[in-house]
């Protein structure tokens, strides 16, 4: 079964390192519609390497949409034109023969470019270090069924926990806000009984680090939800805001 290949023009962002000035470079390719977007980049890289030219650097790992390593802005959209998928799951059959495609890294002050399409998203982890956990040592856990958790609550917690930490929400936001990412983690624990003891402390600490790292504020454009490959809902942001306010009220009481 011979499938007709697509002829495409790609304009891909090339940047030697964090301190150099980047620019778009043009590549003409022929690609099978069954190939994934990243496999197309693999093919371009193969053709560059044969000529002794440096490969276009981009990150990817699982290529199943779950590790959150990949992330490109394709024609202006983080993870490309299809809803609810990561870049690695985008296949070329979604593009038309003769099309021109623009490929850029995620752009945000808090995500500096490392090389070409690679960016540094370590800020996300710094936010997690500040409180994205239940303080609990290994051993001594009660039986898993000791605390019943309703299917609805557990399901809502799972919806929030499905975040893959890719950073598309930040890249999509005009303010480069990390609210969707942070609120997903805050919500997971705020919903579950296990997260209650540290509920307010957690949200305060995580938000403080988020602000320190230069992520922007949320102005409710919902661009983050629209581009999220896992469909994380902005209701998590509302939940986090409520908890954050409650935390402020409660901490004042303690201070007085």
């Amino acid at each position: 079964m011979e499938v007709k290949k697509l002829n495409l023009t790609l304009n891909i962002w090339r940047q030697k390192n964090a301190n150099s000035v980047g620019s778009f470079a043009e590549y003409k390719v022929q690609v099978s519609p069954d190939a994934s977007f990243l496999e197309m980049l693999d093919e371009i890289n193969d053709s560059l390497e044969v000529k002794g030219e440096e490969a276009i650097h981009f990150e990817s790992d699982c290529r199943e949409g779950i590790c959150g390593t990949c992330g490109l802005v394709i024609n202006g959209q983080p993870h490309g034109p299809l809803p609810k998928i990561a870049t690695c799951q985008l296949h070329m059959r979604n593009f038309k023969d003769g099309e021109t495609i623009w490929v850029e890294p995620f752009r945000a002050k808090a995500f500096p470019v490392i090389k070409d399409l690679m960016v540094d998203r370590s800020g996300f982890d710094k936010i997690l270090y500040a409180g994205g956990y239940v303080s609990f040592n290994t051993g001594g856990a009660p039986d898993g069924n000791a605390i019943p958790i309703s299917k609805e609550i557990s399901s809502l917690a799972m919806d929030a926990a499905a975040c893959i930490g890719c950073g598309a929400c930040v890249a999509a936001c005009k303010n480069a806000s990390a609210m969707l990412f942070v609120s997903a983690k805050v919500s997971q624990y705020a919903l579950l009984p296990q997260g209650q003891p540290e509920r307010y402390r957690r949200v305060e600490q995580m938000v403080a680090v988020m602000d320190e790292l230069g992520f922007g504020s949320c102005t409710n454009t919902y661009a983050c939800e629209a581009e999220c490959p896992k469909g994380i809902s902005v209701t998590n942001i509302a939940r986090m805001n409520r908890d954050f306010m409650m935390a402020k009220i409660k901490s004042k009481e303690v201070e007085v």
């Binding site: 890289n45 490969a55 779950i66 799951q89 998203r121 409180g131 290994t138 898993g144 499905a162 930490g165």
Partner: protein, 636 residues
Amino acid sequence: MTKLDSKIPEGNISEKWTNHKFNMKLVNPSNKRKFDIIVVGTGLAGASAAATLGELGYNVKAFTFHDSARRAHSIAAQGGINAAKDYQNDGDSTYRLFYDTIKGGDFRAREANVYRLAEVSSNIIDQCVAQGVPFAREYGGLLDNRSFGGAQVSRTFYARGQTGQQLLLGAVSSLNRQIDIGSVKLFTRREMLDVVIIDGLARGIVVRNLLTGEIEKHSAHAVVLATGGYANVFFLSTNAMNCNATAIWRAHKRGAFFANPCYTQIHPTCIPLHGDAQSKLTLMSESLRNDGRIWVSKKKNDMRNPNDIPEAERDYYLERKYPSYGNLAPRDISSRAAKEVCDEGRGAKGGNAVYLDFSESINRLGQKVIEERYGNLFDMYQNINGENPYKSPMMIYPAPHYVMGGLWVDYNLMSSVPGLFVLGEANFSDHGANRLGASALMQGLADGYFVIPYTMGDYLATTKPVAIKTDHPEFEKVASGVRDLTNKLMSVKGKRTVDDIHKQLGRIMWNKVGMARHEKGLKEAIAEIRELKAEFWKNVTIPGSGNDVNQTLERAGRLADYFELGELIATDALDRNESCGAHFRVEHQFEDGEAKRNDENYSYVAAWEFTGENKWNLHKEELKFEYLKLAVRSYK
């Protein structure tokens, strides 16, 4: 010469671990902070080990080549994690999980290790729940279970089709807490390229900083490798792009024995190949076999659309051949059965694929229930294939997925190099010749949360907390060896790309060291691998610099190790002149095509000692079955 001592404790199997925990030496709390431990890899095994050792008070240095601990490939595990909780009241027990795992592994695993795994399995679930892992629940609020291959009970816990993700995020959350506290220091974007051994003890590692190209030296009183498996030796596998064998391979070349390398698992339900540009294969969780039925046409080269093939002309070959397990037959058996029907020309549209059909379940349960159970997997299938699996059956084919082989470890998870421990998929310990579904997550977390915290203390208690410094000449020697290797790779300046050569190696491995192996093919494979390796060192091209981010160089270093590992896999497969589990030698089968074991001659762990280029010594660890009777594995 090192002698293999598995250090299995005395006593009844159900008391071995309990007794051993009591008999092991302890490090007192104020001495713990005097010990440094390096943990390489932050998947389920590595993250859980690093977090737990940090909680205990050791100084832990954790390393990952990712930008974040939470990207490790454990995250992609879909289906679930086994535990002998018997919440379903369906006859499960520690002993049954132990039995199923030994039998699933075709009687090629250590009884004592597997029993311990079954024993701690329940604690893992409790631990994860306490961390806030959102496991699936029943309406009454209790934990839900489903079934997996090779078991007749429902003991698999899950979080939608993202169980690995949730367990890893749980383990990494514990790790993050220790990072915040300061007991763990995490080094991201570092790839381990060698291990440093001083006076016979593992004392540190040498890593490459992937952002700067700098070769760094890190010291410790013990080193833990939890760096996953090597299925990418086949180029196309379900592993992530960056999964590799380099850490364990370089440790092997420094003296750690490599056990059962030929036990490579081919998973039955993956999305078939689409073309030459394919970079990896995608797994469709085994849990789909709970509700999906596998079939092919009874006719050869049947080009009809699957929905046009009438019921009477379909062959539900797993249900036909294995009526008691049906579509939930273990992975090795299901994969071979798929290959067999495709080799007969009965694959989907005459090609290399079989149908996985949900129409019966959708009719019985409704689409909504199926969506709830497997929605994300169905979406994933549709993204990749462009077809709607609610409407027409999925097409699937086996693909390399997991390796049971790995570095040899004793009962304490210590390799043949004192002070070098190996956890998770990187070791060989618990799955014998075939791993059952939902058991990899169980083993990774068992090793990290519940085994290494004890056995590490026992080891460190016998050593003195002397300062280990990276200015020791051995560190510089190893580091300069690593620098030389980088320079050697960069200076080849040939014509063929890393991927091009890797794909060729993958074809050799898949065709001759894959699902069906025979003497002639294995010997050819060894010769071809050596030839390809020689070509690689003469003709590979790696543009860019060694002192900068260079993804091509990273891949080249890993490929250099795959040639040697590929040869060892073939060598081991050649030595093991029997069929067992995932290792199928066509010379050894029953008339109906089932694997024929040879217990008299091959009931051993093959532990290979590296003695020089293309040279290994075989050490045999006899497997004793005192509790379970060696029997022909039957799922009929």
